[in-house]
Every structure is written in C-alpha cells, then in structure tokens.
C-alpha cells in the first residue's frame, strides 16, 4: 500500500536525477564544472524574487498544456495538437479581448478566457470528429491542424489583425482583459494566471476522480470495449475528450496573452509549449497535481538554463538534453523501475 503510493513519485524523481547525472558528464566533457553549472542553474531559477517570478510566468501555460495532453492520455487520446489549439485559443481570445475596452474586468476576463477555451476546443474537436466518425488517427490529424493553425495565426497578424511596423503583431488587448498582477519585479510581472492554472488542475483532478464523466472517459481510455458494453458512447467520449483537451490548450494560449506583456497576439507565439505539454504530462504521469510539479520543473530548467548560459558559459542546449533523457526514462518506465528494484534488493542484501 505504502509502496504503491510512493512509487508514482519515485520514477519521475529518479529519472530527473539520472538525467542530471548524465548531463553532468557532458558538462565535464565540454570542460566545465557541473556542480557550478547546476548551482548557477538553481540560482537562476529560484535564486531571488525576479528569478522565481520568471519561473512561475513560464510555468503557467505549461501547467495548462500539460493538463491538456495529460487529460487526453487518461481518456485514451494522444492529443499532439496542443500547439495548434493553443495558437487558435490565443487568436480567438485576443480578437475578443481587443474589443472589450468599454467592459469592466469582472466580465471581460471570464468572457475572454471562455472564448479562448472555445477556440481551442473547436479546433481540437475537428480531430475528435475525424477520429470518431472516420477513424482518422488523432496524431496525424492534430499535427496537420497544428500547421493550419500556425499559418492561420501568421496570416492574421500579418493581414487582418496587423498593426504598426516591424514584427507582425496584433493590437494590444483591452486594459480590462489583462489579468491582475500579484507581484512586479523590475520587468517581470507575475499575474494571477498561475492561480487560475492551479485551480484548473484541481478541477481536472476532481473531474477525473469524482464525476461520472471522468469515470466514463477514463474507462474508454483503459478499455473501450468494456466501456461500450457499459453503455458509454465511444464516439461521444472521443469528441468530448478532444474538446476538453483543446479547451485547456486554448486556455494556455489566452492566459499567456492576458497575463504577460506585451499582451499582444504575435502569431507563432507558442514556442513549443504545446509540445512541452507532452513532456510534462509524461513526467507528471498524467495526474493533474503531478503535472503542476512537472511544469514547475520544466519551467525551472528553462529559466535556469538562461542563467547557466550567461554566467557559466554552458550552452542552454544542455537543458534540451536533460529534458530528452527525462522523457526517455519516464516513457521507458521499466528501466527506472528495474534500477529502483535492483537498488532496493542490494540494500536488503547488504
């Protein structure tokens, strides 16, 4: 009992430690001191108010894209399109937010968030419908939709929505659509976005564990034949799962615009954060609470690596290596499980 409670935490933790160890070998090979490097990295991510704020700002959309992908996994759907859904959510949400100047925040903020979620949900539902009614695999269709979304986003910021000169960008969203600031350190503004993201994670946990919807969707994910036998509509489940997953990704997109300057839609804004959702869902083992911590880890690696590059002259590619090894180990869970088992056994013998 006890062991099974600890075990889900153990694999990701051990994976991260192994990844850091492997990366330190690489750091030694390029002639640097890994201890210094990691010290700089930790300071860069958590070393002060500004660093902490930076990490949390980066973490906010990652929690949501992690939830998007993780929720899909739980219900047996591999939504690889969080990237595109995030862009569409940000685009649709911004289009509404730009025109909300005369409306008070208390109305604007929920309306904008909901439109962003709807944008992502509708975009993802396309793949859901295709899977439910034609059997088209969601990995293929969501990748295709990612490209369509990216090009649509570029078109919108260079054409209909474009303002000013230089980099393509939309007008700034209305003041009333910006999320309230919790903390401002120099240039970094920490908005309530993170609170929203954490609340959403808790809501997702409740949906998964306490509702008939969660029961049905997880059931379809585990065994669609038994779910069908139990009176659950597989088609409905697939579409609903994609819609919810897309809504979370869309929320990630719009929350980012509402909470982080310059508060403009700039087209290809997502910077791979949709794909990071896959990593985060894997590390968090598709558990909403685990995903919060996984997102924190990835965000910390990102901010920490900037500092590492600047003050320790270690290329921030090292973070990509660490991330890659973690994914590899978490995905190939048996490797880590065997290592833990072997260590425990040796410990018992000694």
């Amino acid at each position: 009992m006890n062991r099974s409670k600890i075990y889900p935490l153990l694999v990701p933790t051990v994976s991260v430690l192994i990844a850091l160890a492997v990366a330190s070998v690489i750091i030694v090979i390029i002639g640097k001191n890994p201890i210094t490097a990691y010290a700089v990295m930790i300071r860069g991510a958590f070393g002060g108010a500004e660093q902490l704020a930076n990490t949390i700002v980066k973490m906010t959309p990652l929690v949501l894209t992690g939830l998007a992908v993780g929720f899909g996994f739980r219900a047996g759907v591999f939504n690889i399109g969080a990237e595109g859904q995030m862009a569409i959510g940000a685009l649709i949400g911004s289009m509404v937010a730009i025109n909300m100047g005369a409306v008070p925040s208390i109305i604007t903020i929920p309306v904008v968030i909901v439109t962003g979620m709807l944008g992502g949900a509708i975009w993802a539902s396309i793949a859901g419908f295709l899977k439910a009614f034609t059997g088209a695999h969601e990995v293929i269709s969501t990748i295709m939709l990612n490209w369509i979304a990216a090009n649509l986003a570029s078109f919108m910021v260079t054409g209909p929505l474009a303002v000013g000169s230089g980099t393509p960008k939309s007008p700034e969203i209305a003041e009333s659509a910006k999320l309230p600031i919790i903390m401002k350190v120099q240039a970094t503004e920490l908005s309530i976005g993170i609170i929203i993201a954490v609340i959403v994670a808790i809501i997702m946990q409740i949906i998964l564990e306490r509702t008939t919807m969660g029961y049905e969707l997880k059931g379809v994910g585990f065994n669609p034949y038994a779910a069908e036998y139990g009176g659950i509509s597989i088609k409905k489940s697939i579409i609903l799962t994609m819609a919810i997953s897309g809504a979370l990704a869309g929320m990630a997109g719009i929350i980012d615009i509402m909470g982080v300057p310059p508060h403009r839609f700039v087209g290809e804004l997502t910077g791979g954060r949709g794909f990071d959702g896959i990593t985060i869902a894997l590390i968090g083992r598709n558990n909403p609470i685990g995903i919060i911590f996984a997102a924190l880890l990835i965000a910390a690696l990102r901010t920490g690596s900037n500092a590492m590059q600047i003050s320790a002259q270690i290329p921030d590619d090292i973070v990509i290596i660490i991330q890659g090894i973690v994914i590899f180990l978490v995905a190939a869970e048996r490797i880590v499980a065997s290592i833990i088992y072997w260590k425990r056994k040796r410990g018992e013998l000694a």
Partner: protein, 561 residues
C-alpha cells in the same frame, strides 16, 4: 464420451484391490498428508517417468506447493486436476524448469535432476503444450515446428529436410497438419497439433498438456484424445492438466488431485468417479448437475424476429434467426464456437448492428438501440469475454461493480459519483457473491479468473438500482473451476425462479443441458431446431451442432415430434 455424473462403480476406497498402484496410497479427502511406503535409503524411481517427492514452493504470500508428491508411471496418461490456484501450474513449472523448488527432489526416469531452466527440462525429454499457443502466425507449420532447432546445410536452413522430418513426425503420431500452411490460416485444433509436433520434434518423451481442451470443440477434443492415445501407444508419457472431469474419465489411467497446494488424492481412474474427484478437488460435496424445479414461463420478454447480423468481415453470421424468451425460463443456445452465437449476443445487447429483422424487448421495439438503451430497458448481459468486454482491469473492483449503472442513483447524483455509497454497495456485493479476496480496492485485473467472473455476474444479476428483466448470459463459466461453476449455475437458476428471462449461450454442452429449459441448436447462423434437454441425447445435439436439422436427427430414431 462418458457423461459427467454417470455412476461408475465406487470402489475408490478399496485400496487393497489395486495391485499396480503407486508407492503412495493416499485417498485423503481432508487435505491430508500422503503416506510414503518407500523403503529407506536411495529411492528407486526407475519405473516412473516423473517422480516429484516432497516438493515445497513458497511465494511471498502463499505456499503454492506444500510437500507435494507426484508420481507418473512410464507410458501412462496421468491427470492432474485441481481448482484454480490449487498449485498445479506451479508444480508443472518446476517440472519444466521454470521455477526451482524450495525443497524436494525431482527424478526423471529414476535419475535425480536439477533443472536450471526449460532447456534442461527439454534436454531431459520433457515438453509442454501451453494453453496459449506460442506460434509465429505468419510462418508455415513446418517453420514453426523446427524453429530453434533448424536442420542446416552449411549456414543455410535446409527447408526440404525440415519439411520431410515434420511430415514423417506428423504421420507417425497421426497429427494431421498442412505443413506448408501458415499458422494464421489454420484452425485452433490444428495449431494445437503444431504445438505438439514442436515438442515431439525436440525429442519429448514426457508431454505436459496444460488444459488443452479449453480452446477446442467437442470434435477437436475427440481428435486430440485419439492423438494422445497414439502417443501413449508409442511409449510416450502424458501429464494432462484439466478441470473437466468427464475428460479425466475418458482418457486417463491415473488421477492426482490437488487442493490448496497439497495433494488430496491419487487414484486409478477406473476406481473412481467424477463425484469423488470433485469432492477431493473442492473439499466438500459438489453438485455436478444443479438441481432445479420445472420452469414456469410466463409473459414474453424478448422476441427476435428473422434476425440477420454481419460478422466483422461483413458476411452474414446470423441468418434469419427467430426466437422467444419468456419470463421465468432459460433458453439455451448450443453450438460449436464461431457459428454466429457471438454476433447474436452482440446484436441483442446493442453492441452490433442489426442488418435485417427485429428485436422486441418487453414489448418495445429495440432494433439497433444502443447498449445504454438496452440496459435502461431492463436487459443486462454477462459477456462471453470478461476481460475484453466485461470489466476494466485497471479499475478497482468497486468501480467495476457499477459499470453500466454508474450514472444511476444511488451511485451518482448530478454527475458526481457517490464514492461512499459505491463502496458500501460493493462491500455487500462481494460478500453476497463471494468474490475473493473481499477487497473492493483491488484492481479487477489482479483478481483470479473465477473471481473476475463472479464480479461480472454480481453486477449483472444484482437488483440495484433496478432488477433486470432479461439477462443475456454468454459463456458464464468459461475457465472457471468446479466450485465457482456450481455457484454461478445456482445463481442463474435462482434468477430464473424469480421470473427473469434468461438467454444462455454456451459452448459447453453440459452447461446447456443442465441449465436450459429449452435448447436451440445453432449451426452457421441458423437454428437447426428446438429441443428440450429431456427429449434428446448429447449425441443427437452433437449431430444438430454439425448441421443436421432436428427432423433428420430425430427422424433417424423414428419418433419425430
């Protein structure tokens, strides 16, 4: 084939009457110790192909083999029977080198052995026909047989020699196979013969058959028995693991019974009977044939009219079937697997599309209704494949016990699951249906097969939130042991007596005979005729299962009804 329950002279306790018996005499119904009459000093086991003495095998939570003695004479067919979890498989895995005994000795042909792995066992002439075949689907029969010990010409495979050797072997032992056919294209019975050829090719003298008839039709079973007899006449020794007592009676000479890790009996087959073996297996008297009162069918509950249903390839699997089920009766569908029963069941429960025809449930038109609509109208379903359809292995027992009723009160209100209510209900249900262990938090996939089936049966037959009106029961006891079968049969009969209409589909003729009030015989998607268990013999039903109409079959004996 002898009927289960046929009285055979009961002289099992007459030990003196068995000159050619074993060095252990133990007919101990109460789980006792076997008495060894071996002389002290080096034991002489040279008459025995297999002698396993004092075998102990412990696992962290259970003693799987507790001082087990198991002796098999050269050239005999020896049955090893026992309920699931009795320790048969553990014992055989030690003989096959998959496990090492914690204590005890193993002798093969009188020589003491220590197996480090299956390879050692194979080198000592032991072969195992596994319950789940281990064949390469897209290779030919010959290729599968030689896989791992291929004849070579230089560095190349000598396929011609391989074909020749396999052909000779198959002729010698009467194992009819098409040596150039691919495994995926041949029927299950032939695949099993390929498995047997594989182990013979590796020089097996002692063959272990692990529940070989579980996947076979009655005809294929008969063919397998012929092969076993031929193997025996060629001097091979056979260990036959089974649940089915009529098979023990039909083919074996000697029976060892295990229960809870111990040997509870060892008797000559000719000196015993199914009832006695069942008692040794279960530890108490068992009803091999459930007793039931005459049925009192009342109103029509399920009506099927000229039903046509496709299989997965889009060909008609059910061809114009009409049948009726009334409240308070059990209608059995007999037939060899794959004659459209699966498709019929799926159509009648909303899982498969109806091409033509009608399904009427309690007077409501239900043709092509969804599984949920069928459930809500009072039809429940014990599916034939419990792992695939009947449960979600990764869900705990308490979640599985509400599958299909999970949105109904009291289990959920406004879309929120009431976990307290669900758990309390589940605790009651596992108690009432004797699901072991009584741990509703356990994942369903970790239960034994029999307890998984009890869980499914409990869910489908229970009256919360509403009492079912019609239950479609498919293969309710597949792979279960005698104790569990008895329980499930009793439950089905009591449901009938409460006025529920039951449509029973089973490949086990015994089950059809002992439960059904009326029997419909299926062949290639059509009904060959309707009979009652009293009016026909098994042989006559067998003929109908092979495609003869009732009139032909009963006409032959000259009393058409």
């Amino acid at each position: 084939m002898p009927l289960c329950g046929t009285p055979i002279s009961l002289i099992a306790n007459d030990i003196k009457g068995r000159e050619d018996s074993l060095p252990i005499f133990s007919i101990v119904g109460d789980g006792g110790e076997s008495v060894s009459t071996l002389k002290s000093g080096t034991p002489d086991f040279s008459d025995y192909a297999v002698a396993m003495k004092g075998i102990v095998k412990k696992f962290p939570s259970v003693v799987a083999n507790d001082n087990v003695d198991f002796f098999v004479k050269k050239g005999e067919i020896h049955a090893l029977v026992g309920e699931n979890g009795a320790g048969k498989s553990t014992l055989m895995k030690q003989l096959y080198g998959l496990y090492t005994p914690d204590d005890g000795e193993i002798y093969i042909n009188g020589r003491k052995v220590h197996f480090k792995g299956p390879k050692d066992a194979i080198d000592n002439g032991i072969g195992m026909v596994h319950q789940h075949f281990m064949l390469v689907d897209n290779q030919t029969v010959a290729e599968n047989v030689i896989l791992g010990s291929e004849p070579r010409k230089g560095i190349f495979l000598d396929y011609n020699k391989a074909r020749k050797e396999v052909k000779e072997l198959s002729e010698k032992f009467g194992l009819a196979v098409d040596i150039d056919a691919k495994i995926e294209d041949i029927p299950v019975g032939m695949q099993q013969r390929v498995e047997i050829l594989k182990i013979l090719y590796r020089g097996a003298e002692i063959l272990i058959f692990d529940e070989p008839t579980a996947v076979l039709t009655p005809q294929e079973t008969e063919e397998l028995f012929n092969v076993m007899r031929l193997l025996k006449s060629n001097g091979k020794t056979i260990i036959f693991i089974t649940h089915k007592l009529n098979e023990v009676m039909a083919i074996t000479e000697n029976v060892t019974v295990m229960r809870l890790g111990k040997v509870t009996g060892n008797v000559l087959t000719k000196d015993t009977n199914p009832r006695e073996i069942a008692t040794m297996m279960v530890g108490r008297e068992v009803l091999l044939r459930v007793e039931k009162e005459k049925a009192h069918p009342s109103e029509l509950v399920l009506e099927i009219e000229d039903l046509w249903v496709n299989d997965n390839r889009g060909l008609y699997a059910v061809r114009g079937v009409s049948l009726e089920v009334r409240a308070g009766e059990i209608v059995g569908i007999a037939g060899v697997a794959g004659n459209g029963q699966t498709e019929l069941v799926e159509a009648v429960t909303g899982l498969r599309k109806v091409e033509k025809g009608r399904i009427v449930l309690l007077g409501n038109e239900m043709t092509n209704a969804s599984p949920l609509e069928f459930r809500e109208s009072g039809l429940t379903h014990i599916p034939e494949d419990r792992i695939k359809r009947g449960m979600i292995s990764q869900y705990p027992v308490y979640y599985n016990l509400i599958l299909g009723k999970h949105s109904e009160e009291p289990f959920a209100k406004n879309g929120i699951l009431d976990l307290n209510e669900i758990k309390q209900y589940s605790d009651k249900l596992v108690e009432h249906f004797d699901v072991r262990p009584r741990d509703i938090n356990m994942l369903a996939g970790n239960l034994s097969g029999g307890n998984q089936q009890k869980m499914v049966v409990a869910r489908e037959l229970d009256e919360t939130p509403v009492k079912p009106k019609v239950v479609v029961v498919a293969q309710p006891t597949r792979g279960l042991d005698i104790g569990a079968i008895e329980f499930i049969h009793k439950t089905i009969i009591s449901m009938r007596d409460q006025g529920i209409g039951i449509l029973l589909i089973s490949m086990e003729l015994d089950e059809i005979f002992s439960l059904s009030d009326r029997i419909l015989v299926f062949y290639e998607g059509e009904i060959m005729g309707e009979v009652t268990p009293e009016e026909v013999t098994r042989e006559e039903i067998g003929l109908m299962m092979a495609g003869h109409k009732k009139a032909e079959v009963l006409g032959e004996r000259g009393d058409i009804k």
